[in-house]
Structures are given as structure tokens and as C-alpha cells.
Amino acid sequence: MDYTKLKNRPSWPFETIGVAIAFSPRLESILCEARILSERFNANLVLMHIGDRTRNKEHKLSELLAKAGIKESAVRVIWSEGEPVQTLLHLCKLNIVDLLVMGAMKKENVLQYYLGTVARKISRKAKCSVLLLTEPNKEGSRFRKMVVNIAESPKTSHTLNTAIYFARHNKSREIVAASEMHQPGLAMTMAEDSTAGEASRIRKEIKEGAHSMVNELLEGCKEECNIEIVEKQITGKPGYAIRAFAAQKKADLLVINSPDVKYGIIDRIFTHGMEYILEDLPCNLLIVHSRVNPAE
């Protein structure tokens, strides 16, 4: 298989939108969402179902496509069998999907969370951007208020550009560029030998560092932006702090980088980073896969 087209492919624009179909009660809403997004981004739609191809399913899908206002001739439907996660990931690569749209429960029960459902597993492993919709609806979700997680990573400039691109096409009103400030060992270090002045200087330097990082990223943005971007610094453990902030801000969409390391069950036991968000989605979630190697 030739993956060279994927290498260094930018995370935006979204030329091909993939939809994972599971014939759940929410399928009609997800198809409606996918149709609306494909219109907004002027993207092709690829529908993928992993499982048996039966007449019943074909019939049901035709019905739902019609209800969602999608012409069957305008979409590609792929039926495939195999292990759902690996097969979906493979199909996304094969079809050069830029954005995979999936429905996801806001919170899963403990067993589901630790064992991992398809949506969560895909979120951890996908080599394309993933949009998890917590409450898909037939009128299409609104993404008025977006929170973008500004992490210290080469991926973040791609994420920010993608978020601005997403916001522009979805008529968003506000983007909050939120950076998480967390320095392990800081409390211990400052308790030992810092005067009040030194402690406040250190804190100020950390804040200024975060501020200049956001500024540099915003100045380097390639995407045109006519939306208000508010900068915000939040304290707390990475992943948890941004989740809590997005929930408190009542954001419609949280945008984050794709993970730098492969997440496994141990990362769910000792929760960190993106796992805090997947554990309890505060709103819809866009995971931007920038196809950049963080080590480079």
C-alpha cells in the first residue's frame, strides 16, 4: 500500500471526511452531521462500515442516507470485515481521510473505559484528525465557542491552524487558546529556598513563557482569522485542566493535539494527558493529527 501521499500531508483543509458507521440509534444524526460538515468544508464523504454486508443493512443505510439528505451517488460506501479498530484505521489511510467523524458517549462506564470502545481506541491511534461528537443532531452541531489546547509541541501550530480553519467554516464566534501551566516539582523547589520575591518572579516567568508561546503561535498562523482569539492560561495537570476549563467555559468544541506516545491500558490506570479528556468528554472533541513527528 502506498502511504507516501499521507506523509507530511497538512492537517487542513479537510478534503475527505470519513464516517464510521455502526448502525446505532444515532446513525441518522451522525450522517446529518457528516453531510453538513462535508458541505461546510466542501469535502468528499466516505462512509465505512466494519461488519457483515447484509441486504438489511444496505436497505437501512439507503433509507438513512435519504433521510440525512445525502445522495448515494455523492458518497463512497465501503463495507469491510475484520477487527473494527485496525480495519477502520487502515481504511482511513487507504482513502486518505483527513477527518474521521464519529459519535461518542460523553462518559463510558468503568469497564468500557478500561477495555476501550471503538471511538476511544480510534482517538488514540488514528493517523488522521478525529472529530468525536457527543450529541450529534440532525440540524448539525454548532461550534460557536471553541477551546484550543496550546501545548508545548511542534504539533500545536498545525492544531491551531486547523482549529482556525474549522472555526472559519463553521462560523464560530470565539476561540480560546488555552495553555496549561504545570511544572512538576515546582512547589517543592520553591518551598525550599525561594523568597516571596523569587517565588513570584518564577511564577511570572512561567506565565510570560506561556504567553509568548501563544503569541508566537498566533503570529505564525497561516490561516486567515477574523474570529476573536482569547488567550488563557490555566493551571493544573495537563489534560485534566483543559477538560475542566472546556466544561466550565461551556465550550462547543475542544481542539487538542494527537497524542505523542502510544496510549495503552496503563495510561488509563495512571491517567494522564488526553486520557483525562477521553475519560469524560466535556464537549465535542477534535483531535488534530498533524502528521508531524514530535521528535523532529
Binding site: Q183, G185, M190, A191, K237, V261, F270
Partner: protein
């Protein structure tokens, strides 16, 4: 016999504590101007107030102020305070261990963590096993076995507070190298203290190695319980404690109370109290609900009250000049540098770091600081090591802490991560 402190005993106890606190703070502040770590000032005060200087020059003043040999009640009271101090120090050390950070940093941090643990451990173990006489250890089987395990552990531990300070001063805390060093140091501390608890427990059993399986089982069971179930319970309770109870009194009392409960539990099952405190610290410190302010208050309380008392007390117990054995000090220093730098360096290279970056990581992790001194003190109190080895460990802790930053700078001079 009355179990209450008498009028004069209480006065002596209060005078001793006040002297230790005030002098250590003054000397630490003076040392800060020379960029010396606080712990160095505290140790120096202990050496001045202890048998090394005050005890030699003014023995009457020394035995009046610190009657460790002559007044049983004051000695017990001070010993209780020193024991509480070390428990609290391990509690706050645990609070700063973030297991997820090690996972988040990926392959480089994990291989550096392993390398900086395994190679120093086996270097120390091998030298102690094959040449115990260098350290004055009588080869009686279990003695040698416990001492070898101890030396390996002592050489593999790192000091997170010192390392964090060095990285902050060098402005490389949040760089890739900085985060790898921090993650690896946390890994070293976690594994090191777990192993050390087993060693202390073995030593407490008179070196009876037949119970080692049970001890390891207890350590694992307790750690697993606290880090899985305990963490979940703490995560449930903390938001309630921080909002419904007095602030910050509620969280302070509950956190320290839990630390002491865990310490009492591990002590009662034959593992040292420090393990309970350390694991309780990890479980509480890991909670996303623990407010930063609460964390700072706990640190301030422990670091500025218990830490000086503990580090000053070290000098009160040992004559540093009498027990300074140049050959042991040099051997411990050489082993410390070679083991840590080679281990962390090779681990870093295996994890994908460039040679110079890997060496910088090695020298960064080489800072042993206060953690080594605590470890050495506990081993000395448990009779695992003698005074000369204890003094050598203290010297090694100070020398590695002082040389860490300059040596890191040498290997990072061409690194884009070093901004200054």
C-alpha cells in the same frame, strides 16, 4: 518513673529545637548567596552544633543543649521529632512523584529511568559484594547481602528537588531534556524507595532472607492498594474536603493524617514507616483535585520545619572529622559518578538521545541531594552501614549536587535547549 517531660527537660527540648531552626535558616540563607543548596547549610549547622565541633570544643554546652546520651527523656522526645521529620520528608517527596509524567515522556524517559537505576545499582552491588572489606563490612553472609543491596540502591537514587532547582536555574525545565531528567528522577525515586523499604525490613528481621518474599509481597500489595483503590478514594474525598471543611486546615489535617496512618500501617506490618508515607504522598500528590495552594502549604510546612530539624540532627549524631575516611569517600564518589552517568547516558542513547544530551541527562540525574542523605541516615540508624560509609554518602550527596549544573552546562553548550 514519670513519663512526662520535666520542667527543665521541656526547656532544653524547646531550646534545642529553636537553636536548630534559627541557626539552620541563617546559615542556609547565607549559603544561598553563594548558590549553595539549603541542605548544605542545615548539615553544616548540625556539624557545628554536634560532636564534630561543639562537642569537641565545648562538651558541656553540647551535652546541655543536646543531651542525647545523658537525658533519656529529651533524647526520646528528639528522636520522636526526628522520626516524624523523616516520615514527613518522604511524604512530600512522594507528592512530587508523577507516574503519568514518566509514561507521557515515552521511550527516552523510560529507558533513561531504567538505565540510571540498573547500572548504578549493579555497580554498587557488585563492588560491595566482591570487596565488602573496603567499607568495613564483615562478611557474615546476610550482612554482606544487605549492605550490597543497600549500596546499589544508594547509588541509584536521585534527588528530585535539587534536580528541579538546577533545571529551573538553567532554564531548561520545560525542554525535552529537562522533562526526561525529571521523569527519570521520579522513576529512580519510586523504585529506589521501594527497594530500600525491603532492605530496611530485611535488616529489621536481623537479615533473615527467608522472609524476603513476604516483604516484597507486602510492599507490592500495599503499593497496589494505595495507588489503585486509595487513589480513587482520595479523588472522591479531596473535592469534598477542600470545599466543605475549613481551608486550608481541612486538607492539611486530612493529608498529614493519612500520611501518618499509612506510615503506622507499614511500620506495623514490618516494613518501615517511610514506605507508607511515601506511597501516601504519591496517592495524594497525584490527585488532580489537590489544589496547588494546598500542595504549597504542605511543602512549606514540611520543608521549613521538619527538614531543618532532620538535617541538623544528622550532624548531632556523627563526628564528621573522626569518621571521614578518604578512601571510602573517593570510592563512593567514583562509583556514584560512573554508575549514574553511564547508566543514564546509555539509557538516554537507547531512548534516542544524542551522545552529549544523554551525558547531560546523566550528570543532571547524578545530583543526589537530600534524598541520599535521608537514605543514608535511615541505613545508619538501622545499623546497615557504619559511620565512615554514612559520612561518605553525605559527602557524595553534596558533591554530586554541587557539580551537577556545571557539568551539565559543559555537555549542553551546543544544545539549542540551553537558552542561556
Amino acid at each position: 518513673m514519670s513519663y512526662r517531660l520535666g520542667h527543665s527537660d521541656l526547656i532544653i527540648l524547646l531550646l534545642a529545637i529553636a537553636t536548630m531552626l534559627i541557626l539552620s535558616r541563617i546559615v542556609a540563607e547565607l549559603g544561598k548567596r553563594l548558590k549553595l543548596p539549603v541542605v548544605m547549610g542545615e548539615l553544616l549547622v548540625g556539624i557545628v552544633l554536634g560532636p564534630t565541633i561543639l562537642g569537641t570544643m565545648f562538651p558541656e554546652v553540647f551535652s546541655f543543649l543536646f543531651p542525647l546520651q545523658s537525658n533519656e527523656k529529651v533524647a526520646y522526645a528528639l528522636d520522636g521529632i526526628f522520626s516524624l521529620s523523616v516520615i514527613m520528608l518522604l511524604f512530600v517527596a512522594g507528592m512530587e512523584v508523577e507516574l503519568p509524567l514518566v509514561l507521557r515522556q515515552g521511550k527516552a524517559a523510560i529507558s533513561t529511568g531504567f538505565g540510571s537505576m540498573i547500572i548504578p545499582f549493579f555497580t554498587g552491588f557488585a563492588v560491595a559484594w566482591f570487596a565488602p572489606e573496603i567499607f568495613g563490612i564483615v562478611d557474615t553472609g546476610n550482612n554482606k547481602w544487605i549492605f550490597s543491596l543497600f549500596l546499589g540502591t544508594a547509588l541509584s537514587i536521585s534527588a528530585l528537588p535539587v534536580i528541579a532547582r538546577i533545571l529551573m536555574d538553567m532554564n531548561i525545565f520545560k525542554t525535552r531534556i529537562g522533562m526526561i531528567i525529571i521523569a527519570a528522577a521520579m522513576f529512580n525515586d519510586l523504585v529506589g524507595w521501594l527497594i530500600f523499604s525491603v532492605i530496611l525490613s530485611l535488616s529489621g528481621n536481623g537479615g533473615d532472607t527467608s522472609s524476603v518474599g513476604y516483604t516484597i509481597g507486602y510492599v507490592i500489595a500495599f503499593g497496589a492498594f494505595m495507588l489503585f483503590i486509595g487513589r480513587i478514594l482520595i479523588n472522591r474525598a479531596l473535592p469534598w474536603i477542600q470545599t466543605k471543611l475549613s481551608w486550608p486546615g481541612g486538607v492539611l489535617a486530612m493529608s498529614l493524617g493519612l500520611c501518618l496512618l499509612c506510615a503506622a500501617f507499614t511500620e506495623s506490618i514490618g516494613i518501615h514507616a517511610i514506605l507508607g508515607a511515601f506511597i501516601a504522598g504519591i496517592a495524594i500528590g497525584d490527585s488532580v483535585h489537590l489544589r496547588e495552594q494546598a500542595r504549597e502549604i504542605i511543602h512549606q510546612f514540611v520543608t521549613n520545619f521538619f527538614a531543618p530539624l532532620f538535617f541538623v540532627s544528622i550532624g548531632l549524631k556523627v563526628n564528621f572529622i573522626e569518621n571521614f575516611d578518604v578512601s571510602i569517600v573517593l570510592i563512593v564518589l567514583v562509583l556514584a559518578y560512573i554508575g549514574k552517568v553511564a547508566g543514564a547516558g546509555l539509557g538516554g542513547i537507547a531512548g534516542g538521545l544524542k551522545r552529549n544530551d544523554a551525558l547531560a541527562v546523566g550528570f543532571g540525574l547524578n545530583a543526589r541531594g537530600a534524598m541520599e542523605i535521608i537514605l543514608g541516615t535511615l541505613a545508619y540508624n538501622a545499623g546497615i552501614i557504619g559511620k565512615p560509609v554514612f559520612v561518605a554518602l553525605v559527602v557524595m550527596a553534596l558533591v554530586t549536587s554541587l557539580t551537577s549544573a556545571p557539568l551539565m552546562r559543559i555537555f549542553m553548550k551546543d544544545s539549542p535547549e540551553l537558552k542561556q
